[in-house]
Amino acid sequence: CVGGSSERHIYCLWVFKESGAMTGWEQVCSFQDPEPADLSMEEESDTRKINNSFLRDHNYATEADIISTVEFNSSGELLATGDKGGRVVVFQREQESKSQPQRRGEYNVYSTFQSHEPEFDYLKSLEIEEKINKIKWLPQQNAAYFLLSTNDKTVKLWKISERDKRPEGYNLKDDDGRIRDPSTITSLRVPVLQPMDLMVEATARRVFSNAHTYHINSISVNSDLQTYISTDDLRVNLWNLEITDRSFNIVDIKPANMEELTEVITSAEFHPQQCHTFAYSSSKGSIRLCDMREAALCDKHCKYFEEPEDPSTRSFFSEIISSISDVKFSHNGRYLMTRDYLTVKVWDLQMENKPLETYQVHDYLRGKLCSLYENDCIFDKFECVWNGSDSVIMTGSYNNFFRMFDRNTKRDVTLEASRENSKPRAILKPRKVCVGGKRRKDEISVDSLDFSKKILHTTWHPHENIIAVAATNNLYIFQDKVN
């Protein structure tokens, strides 16, 4: 349960229409930390649907409440968020009901648990943060749900299951839990299971630790459903989901002499169908595709994707802004999408020398790189996601803006996730940032953008036009407007 000091709020959901997904997004719900009520299991049915009037100013949010990852499961029925306080909150989609059609797609808190605790590495005198870096759902294998969550060092496999019966009629204690006097026990009873209120339990089933010297930046489950990879700055390790005491190092880019280090791994992901293929991205803007069939160690890549640098735009910041912060395979496995500081690129796996498509996320920042460097924003790691059919991509920006690009129509839109500008069921208005001198009425000037409000983590429902957007301590869920 989330303690009294840290609380959580819900917001809404919005949509995109026209050619599938580009115009009207409406807010379905949003959640905010802190939230006024204690989210213990028993009370959650009353408090989880937070009325907007309850919302407090988000400035109250503590560091621990900042959402650090957000992820739909493979059916889209569940949505998990992780935060800097090491907590995981799982939301479950409300069943559609005929009586309340307007509540389509609403998500409510299903389970909250503390996944990681702060630790201290005594050998290296290092604090290990509890912040959840990534969450990945496993495909559902029985009535329970499983997810992997990771902080900088340790990956954990969690089981989230429901229990609606409990045993009653013990021999040694009575129904109130008091121990019975052994002399009064004259016969042997077999306990019976009685129905009780539904309880959602989260239990840590496996802890995969002690395999990473550097910080884990990503995890990815293999399509063979037997293994997964965890990636830190210099290495990729392959694990069997059932075995915690050993993992195999499959990529190691650590140079013999650390002073020769020029490149780090920023993210890695398995191919969605080919169990032997994975890709990893680097701080130098390149992506390597590796085939695990060829050798046990994948130090040699089989494909190398990189766009030659344009010498005319070269600057002090070129290398920093070309660092890839996220790499994602499309659902069909044909494309790779990468996000660097200013752009999103789509690569065809068959074409290594240049990206198929390049989308400018916030090109207007190109002139402000110097101040973005000074306030460290230039090192922000934005993620990117595909929609279910790989036709639209979404990624975050500053000022609580997030961007969508339709790959077919080449239309793009900027939307804003904020409580001030959106009410539940309201249609999100496209936002515009003005670049030149003259500012039109509904435009925002580059200089008035708030760089402390950034959207780094987003996720898209695997089959429907429902998205979840994490803006610091707020989670917004939007969906395609109902006709």
Binding site: N142, V190, P191, S223, L225, H276
Partner: protein, 574 residues
């Protein structure tokens, strides 16, 4: 009746489950069937440890539910256990189900057991379908032909299941299922399933088909192997994925036996050559491990010719492989080739390889050669090697890694036996003594143990002349750790050396050390006296040992006092 079915904490529940047979006995067969089993069927959300214990217990429950007549009552709880997500629990439940299937009458098997298998096989979640894979083979032989046809159909379906887990489970049970099938169905059904699994898109499935290949090949008549099995096996040996090739290399001896000498000669020899030259080190290492076994199992009529012309050239290359795991895998088996090839070939072709490996940069390679010296000794005598052996041993004996030093110490008695006492005294004795003052305790301890084994081998007289003086000399060493080593050596050697040497040479030194200024030495004196006491005669015990122990029992140090008193009571000197 003080029997507990208390679901309090895991440990308590675990204890309850472990005493489940007692509980069932107390309840009687009737209540066990009607109350306990339904309760257990519903408790499957419990902790893994509890479920695992439960799954195991239920396999032995037949008598407790009323004998074979009622054994089917155990099916519902085991069925739920066979669907949980934890693999170990599922496997245990399947194991218990297989066990109790034998206790079903043929009628019960069709009425109760077989429907359960079908339910599992068509379950919604992959967990139940994987469990079903392990149950087909136990019920197939005992059911009617109609049901047999259904079972075959279910197995076929699972082999092309959507989830790789189920296909893996099916692939791993394919061989076992093939064994219980009629030969015609093996040819018609199993072969097509085998071919399909062996070309699955996931290499984790394909590699399991290699295992099935062994069983299937054993079942088929020789004339069918070429058309039914070999195309798939050839394909597996050249699979794009190294893990599949690794599996072929790992199962090579079994495959060789299963396909027989003719196919081995024509197909497996070239395939084995390729595996020994594979681009992936893991595959080469697995193949290198099989070199001896493969050569041994070659048909005798032209074994030597095949080895000399086809295998040995590859082996020669492996000796200078870039990967040390490959080299050490080879080093652990290469000596075995000498018995197969005989004296002349060994001297001419193998000896240079042994010598090269004895000089390898990787200590593990050298160790593996040394640890298998006995094979060569039988064929050509170890003298041929001794020139190169000595530098190799000395180098390992002084290796910077203490685990390497430890490993070589463990081979010393073996080496001493083969090289003979003279050679040992001349070259190795100094090494053995040097280990006694190693700075790592584990080495000093192993060295002490090594001395004992040497004395057992060479006799008390040899000990008296070569070892005892040196050991006793260390009693005056300025380093107290070395002085303690003297005591440890005496503990180990006294029995092997016998009463005479112990009383005359060792005891005086031990007694003298009771005045040592370091308490650790003094209490080890007490421990040593306790240890060597049984070897001494009662006169020495009473006149020499007793006064010293009594003095130590009044020592200022607590530990010295404690061990002195312990020695007095053990030796019954009080």
């Amino acid at each position: 009746m003080n029997v507990k079915v208390a679901i309090l904490s895991i440990q308590l529940r675990l204890n309850s489950i472990k005493k489940l047979s007692t509980i069932a006995l107390a309840l009687g067969v009737e209540r066990t069937r009607t109350e306990l089993l339904p309760f257990l069927t519903d408790t499957i959300y419990d902790e893994d440890e509890v479920l695992l214990a439960l799954a195991e217990q239920l396999g032995n429950f037949t008598m407790l539910v009323g004998g074979p007549e009622y054994v089917h009552c155990l099916l519902p709880p085991l069925e739920s256990l066979a669907t949980v997500e934890e693999t170990v629990v599922r496997d245990k439940a399947v194991e218990s189900l297989r066990k109790i299937s034998q206790e079903h009458s043929p009628v019960d098997l069709e009425v109760h057991f077989e429907p359960l298998v079908k339910r599992l096989a068509s379950g919604d979640w992959f967990t139940s379908r994987t469990s079903a894979c392990g149950l087909f083979s136990v019920c197939y032989p005992r059911v009617s032909s109609t049901v047999k046809a259904e079972i075959r159909q279910h197995f076929r379906t699972l082999c092309s299941d959507d989830t790789p887990m189920v296909r893996r489970a099916a692939a791993s049970k394919l061989g076992e299922f093939a064994k219980v099938l009629e030969l015609d169905y093996v040819k018609s059904d199993i072969i097509s399933l085998f071919t399909a699994l062996a070309s699955d898109e996931q290499d984790s499935v394909r590699l399991l088909a290699v295992e099935a290949c062994v069983s299937i090949a054993t079942l088929l008549p020789q004339e069918d192997l070429e058309t039914l099995v070999m195309p798939t096996l050839r394909q597996a040996a050249e699979d794009k994925s190294w893990r599949v090739r690794y599996m072929v290399a790992d199962k090579f001896s079994e495959l060789q036996k299963a396909v027989g000498p003719e196919i081995t000669k024509n197909d497996l020899v070239p395939a084995f050559q390729n595996l020994l030259k594979d681009c992936e080190a893991e595959v080469r290492a697995a193949a290198a491990n099989k070199v001896k076994e493969f050569c041994e199992n070659l048909p005798e009529d032209n074994r030597e010719q095949i080895i000399m012309t086809h295998i040995l050239p590859c082996v020669k290359e492996l000796v200078s492989d870039t990967n040390q795991h490959v080299k050490s895998a080879l080093a652990s088996v290469i000596m075995g080739l000498s018995t197969i090839l005989g004296k002349d070939n060994t001297i001419e072709h193998l000896l240079p390889l042994f010598l090269a490996q004895l000089k390898d940069e990787c200590p593990e390679v050298r160790l593996n050669i040394i640890s298998n010296l006995d094979c060569v000794n039988e064929v050509i005598g170890i003298r041929q090697l001794s020139q190169s052996l000595l530098p190799a041993i000395v180098e390992l004996a002084e290796d910077a890694k203490w685990r390497v030093r430890l490993a070589i110490i463990e081979y010393m008695p073996l080496l001493a036996g083969q090289l003979g006492v003279e050679f040992f005294d001349e070259k190795l004795n100094t090494l053995c003594m040097a280990w006694l003052i190693d700075h790592v305790y584990a080495i000093r301890e192993a060295a002490t143990c090594n001395l004992m084994k040497l004395v057992e081998k060479f006799g008390a007289e040899w000990a008296q002349n070569t070892i005892v003086p040196k050991v006793l000399g260390m009693a005056n060493d300025p380093n107290y750790l070395h002085r303690m080593t003297t005591l440890f050596c005496i503990n180990a050697l006294s029995e092997a050396c016998g009463q005479d040497i112990t009383t005359k040479q060792m005891l005086p030194v031990v007694l003298k050390m009771s005045n040592d200024q370091v308490a650790n030495v003094r209490f080890n004196v007490a421990k040593s006296l306790q240890k060597i006491g049984p070897v001494l005669d009662s006169n020495a015990l009473q006149t020499e040992v007793k006064p010293v122990l009594e003095k130590l029992a009044t020592d200022t140090d607590m530990d010295v006092k404690y061990f002195a008193q312990e020695a007095i009571s053990v030796l019954a000197l009080a």
